[in-house]
């Protein structure tokens, strides 16, 4: 009890930080997961979409501000940037990766790694290596005091409501789409058995393309949303993709709800480490991942396909 009252403030901050971080990671991981399902290629460049989404949102937001556009335009900038990145980068990269679909996994990884390097360089070329800050959305909404274990913790409304809110909306929308719409059923069919799906008349290439674009836009949105909470620096894409891998592997493939819970677990684990054992920050997500995979190799929520039906 006394430990709690002594550390209530830090614990509260860790929880709130973890929540908003989990929201951003979820947006990246869920897209990575859907894309792997339809394409069967683990796309390392997926982290670049996050970084480029962040930078684009910052540029667009700063441009809007410079032109004297009203406050809400700062929020619109986040969504617009994500959509542009998704539509611009998604289809051509999907087309490129589709060519590696029947190649060895090692070759696929090399191709996506090369792509990641190219996008990283492109990003440095456009935005340079100096940190870029665009915290207008954060400032606009101001702070709120969150009661936690007897303390009042000042925290930004943006991180408390906007980030988790959008992640929850994304989660619900995706789960609903997968279960209730024809597009969702086609996506699941292509994921489960591409050849059988094609025989049912499903244009698997089109489904792959659309899914890839959605996943790209979600990663970009994750980056755009986080751009308000932390300054953008080179390397942010690499850090994100590695964490998303951890989330996807821990959750198990093909899991939307599972990815959300796992993102929460890893986000909270990471932020707790930052406040209480900073030297563990980098390893905590992987400790969680390894721990889970040792006990459940198929992931927390993955199901073992016992037989082909």
């Amino acid at each position: 009890m006394s430990w709690f009252s002594d550390n209530g403030l830090l614990l509260g901050l860790a929880t709130l930080d973890g929540l908003s971080y989990a929201a951003a990671i979820f947006m990246v991981a869920v897209g990575l997961n859907l894309i792997f399902g339809v394409l069967r290629v683990l796309n390392i460049a997926h982290g670049s979409f996050y970084a480029i989404g962040g930078y684009s949102a910052a540029s667009l937001g700063l441009m809007f501000a410079a032109r004297g556009l009203p406050a809400w335009a700062a929020f619109a900038a986040l969504a617009i940037a994500a959509a542009i990145v998704g539509v611009l980068l998604g289809p051509p990269i999907a087309r490129l990766l589709r060519r590696t679909q029947h190649q060895e996994p090692v070759l696929q990884l090399l191709v996506t790694f090369g792509l990641f390097m190219i996008l990283e360089d492109l990003q440095k070329l456009i935005w340079g290596v100096q940190p870029i800050v665009f915290d207008r959305p954060l400032k606009l909404l101001g702070n709120v005091d969150v009661p936690f274990a007897g303390d009042l913790i000042p925290f930004t409304r943006y991180q408390l409501f906007v980030l988790p809110g959008i992640a929850i909306v994304t989660l619900v929308a995706l789960a609903w789409t997968l279960r209730r719409t024809l597009f969702g059923r086609m996506l699941v069919a292509v994921t489960v058995d591409r050849e059988a799906a094609i025989s049912q008349g499903i244009d698997a290439d089109r489904i792959t393309m659309v899914t890839f674009t959605i996943g790209t836009a979600l990663a970009a949105l994750g980056g755009a949303l986080s751009s308000a909470t932390a300054s953008l620096v080179p390397g942010v894409g690499a850090q994100t993709i590695v964490l998303s891998f951890a989330v996807v592997a821990t959750a198990g493939l093909g899991q939307v709800e599972g990815a959300a819970i796992t993102a929460l677990l890893i986000g909270l684990g990471r932020s707790t480490a930052i406040y209480f054992a900073p030297e563990l920050e980098v390893v905590i997500p992987y400790l969680i991942m390894v721990g889970v995979l040792l006990i459940r190799p198929q992931g927390l929520f993955g199901v073992i396909e016992t037989r082909r039906i």
Binding site: A189, D193, I198, S199, Q200, G201, I202, D205, R308, I309
Partner: protein, 218 residues
Amino acid sequence: MLRLDEVTVEIAGVTVLRKVSLRVPPGGRIALIGRNGAGKTTTLRALMGLLPARHGTLAIDGRDCRDMPAHRRAALGVGYAPEERRLFGSFSVRQNILLPAEVLGLPEAEITRRVETMFDLLPELRELAPRRAAGLSGGQGKMVALGRAIMVGTRAILLDEPFQGLAPALALRYAEALLQLKSALPDVAILITESSPELLKPLVESTYVIERGEIAAA
């Protein structure tokens, strides 16, 4: 209805089908018999566009479809029940059956009509409809796969070793359903593969034999 002319197919650099020619007339019932590894499945997959033909021509309903994307077969009225059922486990039986019809964007009334026709042929599927496909037995799965193929197979249905692994009673039931299919939908051509010709004799008009990727006898 279905036509292969001197079709050669390679898988991973190995020639699996060698100049296979085969004809299924409209409404015709044809068997393709061959041992394990003879090339039956490969022939059907080539017809479905799931494997590219290295040489030769391939036509459905008189349309050259060698370079047509595989998924357009369904729109041409070709249904396919693969060897291993290949149902989507997380979907219900009903969702599995409806999927190809929904993908084709058929009108609601047409879908209902087809479902009813199919249920009349395979009444056991009515009860199975709400169940999850993952929970079906192998035999039940074969029935569902047949039902699903009937939903889009208005011109032709390809059945890959449908009797494999069916208990005798269920095999008889399956054969009976195929006979009824013949009278209920006389215009639908059927191509069935099997390793032995015995079960198919009363069901088909003629038989091709395939050996090591080549048609040995017609």
